[in-house]
């Protein structure tokens, strides 16, 4: 998505109308990003709000040589990570090991059929926070485990383990969904 240079300049000048235009252009996509990192929509909207405040506050630092959308996305992801770190300090999540099979995942050549996006999003949001963060950073943002370990303050092995468990969980859930679907038909 491209954004008019005038809008960016308007935002730099602090013009509320330009800010609103920018927000309208990017908010839906960025909320999608935030929802992947959060456990529910309400939390995602909080992150989105905080992220956009940062966007407008630091938009003067944006260098036009890069993608503006990518810049906003990085801010949103960083805000989501900050939010996760804050929450993890006060709330140590309890991983429900029952939902995560401890058995080793078996590499399969199974072709996964398209799943409804809303359902997929809900499955990701149901992941424990740590798993969800690793999954997002690895799959969507393209970070390596070494980088993820630095970002989240965990070991590289933990990152790998959490990614593996997240995948396993999603795989199980999708298989359940397929079974239900087959039963219906």
């Amino acid at each position: 998505m491209t954004v008019d240079e005038k809008i960016i300049q308007g935002c730099i000048a602090g013009k509320r109308r330009a800010q609103n235009q920018l927000y309208k252009a990017f908010a839906p996509g960025m909320l999608g990003v935030c929802m992947r990192y959060c456990m529910n929509r309400a939390e995602a909207e909080d992150v989105l709000q905080e992220g956009f405040v940062k966007v407008f506050r630091y938009i003067k630092n944006f260098r036009s040589d890069g993608s503006f959308e990518g810049w906003i996305r990085r801010i949103m992801v960083n805000t989501a990570i900050t939010n996760y770190n804050k929450r993890s300090k006060v709330h140590h999540e309890e991983i429900n090991e029952n939902t995560l099979s401890s058995e080793d995942e078996t590499p399969g050549d199974k072709v996964y059929l398209p799943v409804d996006r809303e359902i997929l999003m809900r499955l990701i949001q149901q992941l424990p926070d740590g798993y969800r963060m690793v999954l997002n950073l690895y799959v969507f943002e393209g970070y390596k485990h070494r980088e993820i370990s630095g970002i989240l303050g965990i070991s590289e092995n933990t990152s790998k383990s959490q990614l593996s468990k997240a995948r396993k969980y999603l795989k199980n859930e999708m298989e359940k969904l397929e079974k239900v679907k087959n039963l219906q038909y």
Binding site: Q19, G29, G32, M35, V53, F56, R57, P107, I124, F140
Partner: protein, 468 residues
């Protein structure tokens, strides 16, 4: 191991990478609010709050006099401009002319509806008597400004705005037009050529409403007003000028006691000025004053302490040479309960609600600078006292007794103040003011018995006045 699950990764990316959801409206509101509060918003809120309060006060107490001339900015050609929008919106026909005035502005500038024929008085909207009656002023017509306009025939006429109607026009006011003179009712003729008289015209302009349409060849029309129902019920001398201000005023209070102690006070006041005349004004204010004072506490306590010593003889020997005894002694301290007294000082803080009323008179002005003398009374009510306890820590102290020496502040007091105000007009609506003030307390700030003399103070009020 990871490669085996790449299809899941692909599925996730393909499904959710461009996932979009519409955020609720509250998100933008929150973003907008955060941005507002993080920047100049706080200042804007403060100013807006003051502005809203001021406008509310203005609407409540005053009536907007559009043609205010205090700034002396009204040009001679604007003299005929209506002072009252109600008047402007009323239809008036001039005898000998079928004239319909503009609804808003341009009573005489834009005479598109003017006809050279049939000037007939027809005041459809001017019915009933106004509530006020200032008598029936004799109004004569005066030439004020010549403006070219085009009539229906396309000919250029000279429209001379001359007819003058007192703002306090009573019913059945007869207005005579005269294109060669400037006479205000009850006043000698004024000429625009004289600077002083021109200034007088400008001043009078605030109180009079007048216009004249004088096409060529039709000079002495008579216009009869059958009452001006469009006029407001109140008179025009009221609500001449309201202005609003905020002051901060540090003050040094001389307690006028034997110790010649001095205290500091800082006042924050919001004021409303009412200026019925150009030079005289009344000022009412509401504010907070924060005063510092020492808290004095007498701390009496006893402590088991050394009061001296004596030498205890432990043994003695006889010096073989001198034959005298040589004593071996040791020092033995003597302890007893000793009474101590200590003065402990604390920093007390007293907050007063201030209600003030002042009168001021302008004694000098030049350009944007003016000097006032002012005086008034301030009533202060003690609304909060902060008196921390004295800090005393001595684990060996016995029979500790702390006596408060600080006199009790009385709950309310009056101050009489006189001072000089120096105003510097920064713009048409903002004036910077500095006012050295001498304040005399009509009652002592402390309860009787401690300091019978009344204190006085010197302060400097610094503020901004806003005229909307």
């Amino acid at each position: 191991m990871e490669e085996g699950f790449n299809n899941i990764d692909d599925l996730l990316r393909n499904s959710l990478d461009d996932y979009q959801a519409q955020p609720s409206a509250k998100v933008w509101k929150a973003v907008s609010r955060s941005l507002f509060f993080s920047g100049m918003g706080k200042i804007i809120i403060l100013i807006s709050g003051i502005a809203v309060l001021s406008v509310a006060a203005y609407l409540y107490w005053g009536y907007s006099n559009v043609g205010e001339t205090s700034g002396s900015n009204v040009e001679a050609t604007e003299i005929g401009r209506t002072q009252n929008e109600d008047m402007a919106s009323s239809e008036t026909a001039v005898e000998g002319q079928n004239q319909t005035l503009g609804k808003e502005e341009g009573i005489y500038y834009e005479n598109a509806g003017l006809s050279e024929n049939d000037v007939t008085t027809n005041n459809n909207n001017l019915s009933g008597k106004p509530d006020h009656d200032f008598g029936s002023p004799q109004v004569e017509d005066v030439p004020l400004a010549e403006i070219s306009t085009t009539d229906k025939t396309g000919e250029v006429n000279d429209v001379i705005v001359t007819t003058m109607v007192s703002a306090s026009v009573a019913s059945n006011v007869t207005i005579q037009t005269n294109t060669s003179q400037k006479v205000y009712p009850g006043l000698p003729r004024l000429s625009e050529e004289s600077p002083m008289e021109r200034m007088a015209i400008k001043t009078l302009d605030a109180n009079y409403l007048f216009y004249q349409y004088n096409p060529i060849g039709n000079i002495n029309e008579r216009t009869q007003f059958k009452g001006l129902s469009g006029f407001p019920d109140h008179d025009y001398g009221r609500a001449k000028l309201f202005s609003y201000g905020v002051y901060v005023s540090p003050e040094v209070i001389f307690m006028n006691d034997e110790a010649k102690t001095r205290k500091l006070q800082l006042n924050f006041d919001a004021v409303t000025n009412y200026k019925p005349t150009k030079d005289f004004y009344l000022q009412g204010g509401l504010g907070i004053g924060v005063s510092q004072d020492d808290g004095r506490y007498n701390v009496d306590y006893e402590q088991y302490d050394s009061v001296g010593y004596y030498l205890e003889v432990n043994s003695y020997t006889i010096d073989p040479v001198t034959g005298k005894p040589v004593f071996k002694t040791s020092i033995e301290n003597v302890y007893d309960t000793v009474a101590y007294n200590k003065l402990s000082l604390t920093g007390n803080r007293y907050t007063y609600l201030r209600l003030s009323g002042f009168m001021g008179y302008r004694v000098h002005y030049a350009k944007s600078f003016s000097v006032f003398v002012k005086g008034g009374l301030t009533y202060s009510i003690l609304v909060n006292s902060y008196e921390p306890n004295p800090e005393f820590s001595n684990g060996d102290a016995l029979n500790l007794k702390i006596t408060k020496e600080t006199a009790q502040r009385i709950n309310d007091t009056w101050q009489a103040s006189v001072g000089v105000g120096f105003n510097c007009r920064l713009s048409n609506s903002v004036t910077l003011t500095g006012e050295p003030m001498f304040n005399y307390y009509l009652r002592p700030v402390y309860e009787r018995g401690y300091n019978a003399k009344n204190p006085y103070s010197l302060g400097l009020k610094l503020g901004l006045l806003f005229k909307f």
